[in-house]
Symmetry: C2
Subunit: 188 residues, 2 copies
Amino acid sequence: MAKTNYAKYVIMGLLSGCPMTGYDIRKWADECLKYLLMDMSYGQIYPILNQLERDGLATVAVGSAGKRPESKTYRLTEKGLETITAWIRSPDTKEYDVLLKMCFGSLISTDEMIGKLKAYRQKREAELAIMDRYLADAGDETVYGPNALYMSMITMLGITYFKDEVAWCKDAITLLEKKKRKESDGTR
Amino acid sequence: MAKTNYAKYVIMGLLSGCPMTGYDIRKWADECLKYLLMDMSYGQIYPILNQLERDGLATVAVGSAGKRPESKTYRLTEKGLETITAWIRSPDTKEYDVLLKMCFGSLISTDEMIGKLKAYRQKREAELAIMDRYLADAGDETVYGPNALYMSMITMLGITYFKDEVAWCKDAITLLEKKKRKESDGTR
DNA sequence: AACAACATGTAATAAGTTACATGATTGG
DNA sequence: CCAATCATGTAACTTATTACATGTTGTT
């Protein structure tokens, strides 16, 4: 239900870390992306990879070291790096922008990432504040009939997700601030 | 990133509870569906509503009580009810099938819903068991470079989500089993 | 010898977004 | 009277799924 055009950015983000084949990307998506409730199929990955090369955002090496001769390893170009960094830096509009961008957080400054997390946390806190009403609505049998019990269970899970995210944001911000202090210690 | 064809089923599920307009559906999606990380736009809802009517899955009443004269209230037909019930009952293949079907759980027996939840819980428990390895991988700087810290933070959030789901499943199963006992008390 | 994993792709189709277009009613 | 909410829709476009098609390499 997303259709968010994340695939292209996720691929560029990954490639910014290290060169990869389409197969590698798919494997990563299967193992890691699912924790963020997403997926990417080959039918999506390969065309995007071709597009990236065509647009000068990536270069391709056929049969790189440690890979099969038919494999195509993609490497992000300077232009590609600029493009993905610009996306990470851009305003977070969609629900999962922050979480997804976080995967490639090193592309922007620690301060910028902290800013994103603070905003995200605030947003979730605000949403949590109005969620009690939804929970009451969900349990209202005049609205949901026999589904009222089920709807309130789902709403409770949603509240749990959001509470976790708030707590997680707090921890993440603390961690990043520690990291920042260490960085400035190093430059001093 | 989903493109899962959930929209049609969600709309039918909602309509099975009570007749609604496209606007009502959109509002519900905006308020409630987002807790399951989904969304539905008007550009999606209205065409689906027309399609449901065309296919005899829903009937429409223009300008119902309490609504504006131009409003179109959709009501699920017997055929529509059968279609949505068949979907709820069908095997859960996609990541979020169980959670979404849960919203309209009253369409199937309590036992069937318990079965789905038990399977879902088991699946998540199995996934959690292999997640420690991913967490170690995520923190590996030789793989993720400067993103290692970020990747491990995201993986930790993922683990938290899954743990919550396991705990939530347990509670939900307990609740439904209590409900079942009450039901059988009533029929005795 | 068989099977899992590695490896790449395409075409048809389906699904979803975005922007546009319009207008009435209600509450402050 | 202005803004928010109610209310419906379409068209162009983009994005994603599914099923197909093919072949190699490493492990048991």
